[in-house]
């Protein structure tokens, strides 16, 4: 890979991330809502406690969070602390930092989502490839319509149904959480604990798998139909190759190219794609954290989560661009 191309691509990624972060910085600051005041208003609503000298307190906190400075200085501060990896303090759990809270939630999210993403990619792509293959049995082709419907339903809704029928009515699996709180005081590296975590993860994973497997299947089917019509597949048959060889090396190998791009993007968005389901199951990942932050008007946590999702997507898009020429020899490292 030419170094110049690599550098150009990295520079472009930094530019995109910078643009997105800047957008996120200015968006809320154009809004009339004062986060500190909101926090006290929320406190008052929930506890009835109202500080007598509210205005002074707000000022103090604004100084503490640097909200009193002119916009451009705030921007410079914000950017420089980001560069140091400092995402600021959480308002709701002060004095814990945003970075700390995210670091605690992230492993759960990544653990759940990376497994489901890989599983759905494999299952979905397989179904899609078979659905477009002319010699497949009719019932595989008939799977397409149900998958269209399944793909359209948000995992959250499926999650609700699963909780009700499987966890609540049938009592087969726990209704939520990441592990049984009574049995374990906290995460530990033991077999019973991991087993317990797995049991808790089945339903959230299943809701995600059911609703995204259609996405992969439909994408693969669409591409598969196109590749089916290509001359090189026909010529491979003219050459008298075995069906197995045509299927894998001539058909799947070409049809899967866009799927691989999509897989990398899906990995980029694993931090965000499970948010609702995590929240529904009380799974201690970013979703639950985000929900708590929204309830508490903890804007710094919300931004922090926004920030790492952006970073993850941008990096994975770059990785796609860097790796794609290895998958498709027609693409050379010339685009920027």
């Amino acid at each position: 890979m030419p170094l110049a191309y690599l550098l150009r691509r990295v520079a472009f990624m930094i530019f995109v991330v910078w643009s997105a972060i800047t957008l996120l910085f200015f968006l809320p600051r154009l809004s009339p809502i004062n986060p500190v005041r909101e926090r006290f208003a929320e406190l008052q609503r929930s506890t009835g406690w109202a500080p007598r000298d509210l205005e002074r307190l707000v000022k103090v906190y604004e100084v503490k969070f640097g909200l009193n400075k002119p916009l451009h200085e705030q921007y410079v501060d914000y950017m420089s602390s980001l560069l140091r990896g400092d995402l600021g303090y959480s308002i709701m759990r002060y004095p814990r930092t945003v970075g700390d809270l995210i670091a605690q939630a992230l492993p759960w999210t990544i653990g759940l989502l990376s497994v489901t993403t890989l599983l759905t990619f494999g299952i979905g792509t397989g179904i899609g490839a078979l659905a477009a293959w002319p010699r497949s049995p009719q019932w595989v082709k008939g799977l397409v319509t149900p998958l269209v419907v399944l793909a359209a339903i948000p995992p959250y809704l499926l999650g609700l149904l699963l909780i009700y029928f499987i966890a609540f009515r049938a009592k087969l699996l726990p209704m939520g959480g990441a592990y049984t709180l009574g049995r374990f005081t906290g995460p530990e590296l033991s077999f019973p604990f991991l087993l317990d975590v797995a049991r808790h993860a089945i339903l959230p994973a299943l809701s995600l798998i059911l609703s995204t497997v259609g996405f992969w299947a439909l994408g693969m089917r669409g591409m598969g139909v196109t590749v089916q019509g290509e001359d090189y597949v026909t010529f491979a048959e003219h050459k008298g190759l075995s069906l197995r060889r045509i299927f894998y090396a001539y058909y799947v190998r070409n049809a899967i190219l866009p799927q691989v791009t999509a897989l990398a993007l899906a990995f980029g968005s694993i931090v965000s794609s499970g948010i609702l389901v995590e929240y529904l199951y009380g799974f201690p990942g970013l979703g639950s954290l985000l929900n708590a932050a929204i309830l508490a008007n903890d804007f710094f946590v919300i931004y922090g989560i926004g920030l790492i999702t952006i970073l993850a997507v941008a990096v994975s898009m770059m990785v796609v661009d860097l790796l794609y020429p290895l998958l498709d020899p027609r693409i050379r490292y010339t685009r920027a």
């Binding site: 090189y232 010529f235 003219h238 050459k239 008298g240 190759l241 090396a249 190998r253 020899p329």
Partner: protein, 346 residues
């Protein structure tokens, strides 16, 4: 030439039908012909006349809604004769490339873009000659590349790194990899410039002669046929209307359609003369009664509208499907080049 005596391919009464939404379409309607070893047969006709369907039928590559209705296609190999249309799926798969091979139209997309050229050749060898060692396979592939005058390094290149002419040569190299008895080339040069076309055709001709295989060259360019083939079959609406040695075809065409076709061609000696064939090719969905060509025929007779024309084999080994030649054995053409279709038009 004594080509008729020991045909390497004998096709009889081949019929292919497509069952479309709009109705049944007989794309190949009872075609019979013989092909001698080493012979080059041209197959010409307007688009949609069924010439590509015929080729696909011989390869047993007709896909639904198409169906081979009847016929036989017997190939003579060193192991005896086999009817391609009667083989089971697996035997047919093995026969492809090793007995009968197909060089596709538009070689631009015929090669898998993500595999190196060499791998695509090895795939073919693995499918048909798995007993060979990897080194032997590679040697065979490289020999094939050399015989189509491609440099050795093409083996390790990707298709997109080759020019159009080079890709077409790779397809030819693949086509001859297993020394087939019959090679079908479907418009192999239609996307190429004339100079490259000539180079590719000369290569194809040379390797075909070296193998002693028969070649069916499908195309619409009569000029190419005149330069390359021994014999030309003219197809119209799913039927062969005339099969003649190339010399006779161009100097004394028998069928009115062939006559009109050849008259319409621009040559060096008829500059500025424009004779076109009136009308459009009939829809295969609704063929005219009697002779399918009669609505466009300049020499149409009453019988042509009613009855299908007889198949006439002349003494000089020509074939024509026309009422003009129905009666006598030794055909003396009633219409020669001096009376052109245009001049006798109403």
């Amino acid at each position: 030439m004594t080509l008729q005596e020991s045909p390497v391919l004998r096709v009889r009464d081949l019929r292919v039908t497509y069952y479309t939404d709009a109705g049944r379409v007989t794309a190949v309607n009872g075609v019979s012909f013989d092909l001698a070893a080493g012979e080059r047969l041209g197959l010409v006709g307007e688009s949609g006349c069924g010439k590509s369907t015929l080729a696909l039928a011989l390869m047993r590559m007709i896909k639904p809604p198409g169906r081979i209705e009847s016929g036989s296609a017997v190939v003579r190999t060193e192991h005896g004769e086999m009817d391609l249309l009667a083989l089971d799926e697996e035997s047919m798969r093995k026969a492809r490339l090793s007995v009968i091979s197909y060089i596709p139209q538009g070689a631009m997309n015929a090669l898998n873009p993500v595999l190196r050229v060499g791998q695509q050749m090895l795939d073919a060898l693995q499918a048909h000659a798995p007993h060979l060692s990897r080194a032997e396979m590679r040697a065979r592939a490289e020999a094939a590349l050399a015989s189509v005058e491609l440099p050795k390094d093409v083996f390790d290149r990707y298709p997109h790194e080759l020019s159009g002419g080079m890709k077409q040569r790779v397809c030819i190299a693949i086509g001859i990899l297993l020394s087939p008895r019959v090679i079908i080339a479907d418009e192999p040069t239609s996307a190429l410039d004339v100079v490259v076309q000539r180079q590719v055709m000369e290569t194809l001709q040379r390797v075909q002669e070296q193998l002693g295989a028969a070649l069916i060259l499908i195309g619409h360019d009569m000029g190419l046929m005149a330069q390359v083939t021994h014999r030309v079959a003219v197809m119209y609406a799913g039927q062969f209307v005339e099969v003649s040695p190339v010399q006779a075809m161009f100097t004394q065409p028998l069928h009115p359609y062939t006559q009109a076709l050849i008259q319409s061609l621009p040559r060096l000696d008829n500059r500025g003369v424009f004779r076109s064939l009136p009308g459009v090719a009939p829809s295969l969905l609704r063929l005219p009664s009697g002779c399918v060509f009669h609505p466009r025929c300049a020499q149409v007779m009453e019988v042509c509208r009613r009855e299908p024309p007889p198949a006439v084999h002349t003494a000089d080994a020509r074939f024509v499907l026309c009422h003009l030649y129905g009666d006598d054995e030794n055909v003396a053409p009633r219409a020669t080049l001096t009376t052109s279709p245009q001049e006798v038009r109403r």
